[in-house]
């Protein structure tokens, strides 16, 4: 469904990714795993069209995404939950959700469905995003991306700094989306979560893609974890 072939890119003159290959199917959770600075966030930004590609191609169902201007990429149905949440801090919860809805012209039905998944947000619609707790902010970032009714969901360390109950909620959301057939790319550092949630794991090291393995072949003590993450 979503496919990266030989993607090389970076920030200005600084090259970060060197020929990254990646593929994720509908109804599948692909976990992107690698050390800090390996290029996971950069890979997701490249998918979103935020970085000009030096080489390679990114396609969705055979359509070339890399040829589109950045603002047209999400309109193809790609929802993005960025690292650090990146909410529109001074806008209210309702306005942040409106921005998500506007991306693909979704209406009240989508809004209701999303708010049903995160009832806490419904109670705080008029509150500014920056005044939410960390967990609520993560809910909002996720809700905003789901407002696109995406067919591909990119989540960059969605459980960073959250307590167990909140992690469970995010996890349940990911599982629900998978059941609906969404293709999911998840950047996640906690081995526990990787093992229980993902279908396949793609390792990335120094901006290069390494092994891609079925999660069933892995366990807590796998050598691959030691090699690419150091745990």
């Amino acid at each position: 469904m979503l496919k990266l072939e030989g993607v090389s890119t970076g920030y200005g003159p600084v090259q970060v990714l060197y020929g990254v290959d990646l593929e994720v199917q509908r109804g599948e959770v692909l976990c992107l795993l690698g050390r800090n600075g390996a290029g996971k966030t950069t890979t997701l930004k490249a998918i979103m069209g935020l970085l000009a590609l030096h080489a390679g191609a990114i396609s969705l169902n055979g359509h070339d995404l890399s040829a589109l201007p950045a603002h047209d990429v999400p309109k193809q149905g790609i929802g993005y939950v960025p690292q650090g949440r990146r909410l529109f801090a001074e806008l209210t919860v309702a306005e942040n959700i409106d921005i998500g809805l506007m991306t693909r012209n979704k209406g009240p039905a989508t809004r209701d469905r999303v708010l049903e998944m995160f009832p806490r947000l419904r109670e705080r619609l008029a509150q500014r995003a920056e005044t939410l707790s960390g967990g609520e902010q993560q809910m909002l970032a996720t809700a905003r991306a789901l407002c696109l009714e995406p067919s591909v969901l990119l989540l960059d360390e969605p459980t960073e700094g959250l307590q167990p109950s909140m992690i469970r909620l995010i996890r349940e959301t990911v599982e629900a989306m998978r059941r609906e057939g969404v293709a999911i790319v998840l950047v996640e550092q906690r081995i526990e979560a990787v093992l229980t949630l993902s279908d396949r794991v793609a390792f990335i090291e120094n901006g290069r893609s390494r092994e891609v393995v079925d999660t069933k072949t892995l366990d807590r003590t796998s050598a691959l974890f030691k090699k690419y993450v150091g745990v």
Binding site: A70, H71, P74, F88, I99, M102, R104
Partner: protein
């Protein structure tokens, strides 16, 4: 004239200046806030508005009110279009780099100024106000039989000056509503807060920038159309509003609508009052001093947010 009536007169003059300044500074603040572009050519869009108003008004031979009405519609639209063109041809190609755009807008400033000199000429030219009734103002005096109302000689304003104040207030309130209620207002605020995330939610940031740059120029041009029946159009008239707008934006705080309006009232009123009682130069000195104090003690401005 005695002090009291004189102060009232100065305050009214100051209010006209403040009203026009608030509109001009709002345009600068909008561009600065959303695009992070310091538009040094902002004063030239003001000048363009005045010059176009003169051309439009002198092309219409009917009652001055028609010429003025046409200018109100045409001049801001023209300035907006020129600004959008400048954005597409210049700023976009510089990728809105903060330093490069300063140099580029200085270039745009000279191009616009010289074009005005070549087409409009070096003279100052008036535009007739659409209406201009003299309105004498009353003053209270304590006399032998208590307070009594009288009309001191020379204490008056005109219906047009009151109209300028009202028109500016209407535009400011509509703009605030537009920003907080409309869909495009929401898009502008989101773009201002986080350009990259805006892109990942389908907001065509470059198109938003073009429109914001055009809107900023149109606000300046509208302010100039309002003032040109009072002050005349001249190809060098953009310098003062540019300086004052910068002062207002710095004092009010970046991208804060409320701060811009409050600072414009403060600077515009004191500029008017001090100019009447002392000298325009002293007014500018004090305003600049105030900027220095704000920069030292409250760099984010009165209503600005501290940058992380």
């Amino acid at each position: 004239m005695e002090f009291g009536p004189h102060l009232l007169l100065a305050t009214l003059e100051g209010a006209v200046g403040a009203a026009v300044l608030a509109l001009t500074a709002l345009g600068l603040s909008l561009v600065f806030g959303v695009m992070r572009v310091v538009n040094v050519a902002h004063g030239e869009f003001y000048m363009l508005g005045a010059v176009v108003a003169w051309f439009v008004a002198s092309a219409m031979s009917a009652h001055p009110a028609f010429g003025f009405m046409a200018a109100v519609l045409i001049a801001p639209a023209m300035a907006g279009l020129v600004a959008i063109l400048a954005d597409r041809l210049v700023l976009k190609r510089l990728h809105y780099d903060p330093e490069a755009t300063i140099v580029a807008t200085i270039g745009i400033l000279y191009i616009m100024q010289q074009t005005a000199l070549m087409t409009f000429g070096p003279e100052a030219r008036p535009v007739a106000p659409p209406f201009n009734t003299r309105i004498p103002l009353p003053w209270l005096e304590y006399g032998e039989n208590g307070f009594n109302l009288f009309y001191p000689w020379g204490l008056s304003t005109t219906s047009y000056k009151l109209f300028v104040i009202a028109a500016a207030a209407v535009i400011l309130v509509s703009f605030a509503l537009f920003l907080s209620r409309s869909r495009f207002g929401l898009i502008m605020r989101a773009t201002q807060l986080d350009r990259e995330t805006a892109l990942t939610f389908g907001i065509p940031v470059e198109r938003v920038y073009s429109l914001v740059f055009g809107l900023g120029a149109a606000l300046a041009a509208f302010a100039a159309v309002l003032i040109v029946p009072i002050q005349q159009a001249h190809y060098l008239m953009g310098a003062d509003p540019l300086l004052l707008s910068f002062i207002v934006v710095i004092i009010g705080g970046l991208g804060s609508l409320r701060g811009t309006v409050v600072a414009a009232l403060l600077i515009g009123m004191s500029d008017g009052i001090i100019s009447v009682f002392f000298s325009p130069t002293l007014a500018k000195i004090l305003a600049t001093l105030l900027v220095a104090l704000v920069l030292v003690f409250r760099p984010q401005g009165l209503y600005g947010k501290k940058r992380a």
